[in-house]
């Protein structure tokens, strides 16, 4: 699958959920004409507009490949069936709940970082925690992911290189 391929458009209802075997994907949305990147997914990630998929509502984000990708995909029935099978077994059910909670904690920490960290700190966090993303993703996507402009990100990099 080529780079810059859209696999889910904002406004559509997500019918499929993906697994990234190879490549990189970004989730983004249109904010008054401005392209805002919200999340990145590299190899080994599960990708979906979960809210749209789960609740059958229009997706607020688009999904688009950044690099050429190899993806696995599953449709709604597959996923529901798997969830039902897993949660039938008490031990796996507990594990499943843990996984879902973990995703919640991730978002929570992400929020926290916006409240307490400066853009420069957020960039450094990203460098430390997900260096792959910084290396492989074009800088203007990273800037909007951090909530700043590409100009400002460029300044931050310059400052870090000097200091």
């Amino acid at each position: 699958m080529a780079a810059r391929t859209v696999i889910l458009k904002e406004g559509e209802i997500a019918k499929r959920i993906f697994w990234v075997e190879q490549g990189a994907i970004r989730a983004w949305f249109n904010n008054d004409g401005e392209d805002i990147t919200f999340q990145f997914f590299l190899e080994g990630s599960m990708v979906a507009s979960i809210e749209s998929f789960r609740k059958n509502i229009a997706s607020i984000i688009s999904l688009e490949t950044i690099e050429p990708c190899v993806l696995w995909c599953a449709d709604k029935e597959d996923v529901e069936r798997i969830i039902n099978e897993i949660t039938e077994v008490p031990a796996l059910r507990s594990l499943f709940i843990d996984v879902v909670f973990e995703r919640t904690f991730d978002y929570m920490k992400h929020c926290l970082s916006y409240i307490k960290d400066s853009p420069q700190q957020r960039y450094q966090n990203l460098l430390n925690e997900k260096p792959q993303i910084v290396q492989r993703v074009p800088q203007h996507y990273i800037a909007s992911y951090l909530g700043i402009t590409k100009v400002h990100l460029s300044r931050i990099k310059n400052k870090l290189a000097k200091g």
Copy 2:
């Protein structure tokens, strides 16, 4: 329970989960000596350091009453038992998953708001969506919740009052 009562201290392991019958609570943490408010809970909310409660790890937040409060509380065994009972029934299990997902979506939207909205817009969102909080919570808590200083929040209010 009097105002300014701490019901969970940062660093402790959460043993209990609360239900707000009456009053207001804030979740906050210490960031290099700076008191940062992360969340508010009014009547009808469930309150806990969920991560600490679920994983038996030190809580990264403190919980403190803002107003005099009436709280119900449940301990770990109660909650585990209830979860197990609920998830035993497939229909309720699905409902339970929905509830957990819903919390995740909330955090997701909260993150989004930090990326795309200006502090002024976030304040206006809060005014529209949770006017109770703006009315009842001291302004400097709201400022740190919005990720800005109390001085800046005061300026925003002034600007909105004029414009």
